[in-house]
């Protein structure tokens, strides 16, 4: 793990590097954004609502789930429901934030607060691997998230307008971009049997068990916390 280091750097070159690192997942992201646009049109959102949701919520899985809960008339109770469901789908971002917090230490809080708006699965895993290999430029985290935001928002609009024209993403397995990319990017994070195998196995098994027992997205947070707790108990050397 990192030493409590000096102030984190943030450069334009880092942002551009992050944007370049995101390129492999762009086809999947484009198709996903088109699919969200199309689904939101089907559910009766206006184009402005769909675009605004992509722009200010910026969380694909949560946006898709919210469409299942979309109402023709809204009450305070249905607002609370959609906010709570959104929070459970996105609770994984809190854990991702916790994992990168030591990297942000010493930086200007306003910069971190703005940059964190762009935190998504892909930017987090890219930046985590980059940092694991010794990189320190926060531009990789923020820049990849910003390019992903631009693609996500701009894909929502043609998806909304021409949803039924979108080719079948399943045929090219584009629905699997994130799980395959996530799993592959964990390979460089491997630190051997003691430090990695046990926590990861506990995380995966708890995730499987919780998924089987509890509806919704609790399995990610439950499994990940169980893995981190296991990691705390296993000593690297000793």
């Amino acid at each position: 793990m990192s030493l409590p280091s000096s102030r984190p750097t943030l450069t334009l070159q880092g942002c551009l590097l992050g944007a370049r690192m995101l390129v492999p997942v762009l086809p999947g992201l484009v198709v996903y954004s088109l699919a969200f646009g199309a689904a939101s049109a089907n559910r009766g959102l206006t184009l402005a609502e769909a675009t605004a949701m992509s722009a200010i919520v910026y969380a694909g899985a949560a946006q898709m789930v919210s469409l299942e809960l979309w109402q023709s008339t809204w009450t305070a109770a249905s607002l609370l429901t959609v906010a709570l469901v959104t929070a459970t789908v996105n609770a994984r971002f809190a854990l991702m934030g916790a994992s990168i917090q030591p990297w942000l230490r010493g930086g200007p809080p306003v910069r971190s607060a703005l940059g964190l708006f762009f935190l998504v699965d892909a930017s987090w895993i890219l930046a985590t691997r980059y940092r694991e290999e010794g990189g320190r430029d926060l531009g990789v985290l923020f820049g990849s998230g910003m390019l992903s935001w631009v693609v996500w928002v701009s894909g929502t609009i043609p998806g909304y307008l021409a949803g039924s024209l979108v080719a079948e993403p399943r045929r090219f397995a584009l629905d699997l971009v994130m799980p395959v990319f996530f799993a592959a990017m964990a390979v460089p994070l491997w630190r051997g049997l003691r430090a990695s195998a046990l926590p990861w196995a506990v995380a995966g098994l708890v995730g499987l068990a919780v998924q089987a027992l509890v509806p919704g997205y609790l399995f990610i947070v439950a499994g990940a916390l169980a893995g981190a707790f296991t990691g705390a108990l296993v000593r690297d050397r000793g």
Binding site: P24, T73, L79, A94, L95, I125, A173, W200, A232
Partner: protein, 106 residues
């Protein structure tokens, strides 16, 4: 308009509520961790956290998606382990999954 109906503001309020909930998720882990001292145990937990997030996300998704997803994920991981190139890993994983879907229509 029934009691409690928010009328035309409903969709905008729903989107704002979702945005607030999501942003709170994005910052809450960072804010909480900024109050935690980085003891060796906390550092070990943080070191195990990224891989644990991946495992707790990918295994359940693979389990419920079926053999095409499992084979694609395994192919991606193996390719990454062999060549350490995420573009090739992604291509191999999606290629295997797409191939299985082509051969065994599910």
């Amino acid at each position: 308009m029934t009691a409690g109906d928010l009328g035309g503001y409903g969709p905008a309020l729903a989107i704002l509520a979702m945005a607030a909930a999501t942003y709170l998720c994005r910052v809450s882990g960072v804010v909480l961790m900024s109050r935690v001292r980085l003891t060796p145990a906390v550092q070990r937990a943080l070191a195990a956290l990224p891989g644990s997030i991946v495992a707790a996300t990918v295994l359940p998704i693979a389990a419920r998606s079926g053999p095409d997803a499992i084979a694609g994920i395994v192919a991606g991981v193996l390719t990454m382990a062999l060549v350490r190139n995420e573009v090739l890993a992604l291509a191999a994983g999606l290629g295997v999954a797409a191939g299985i879907r082509l051969l065994l229509p599910i």
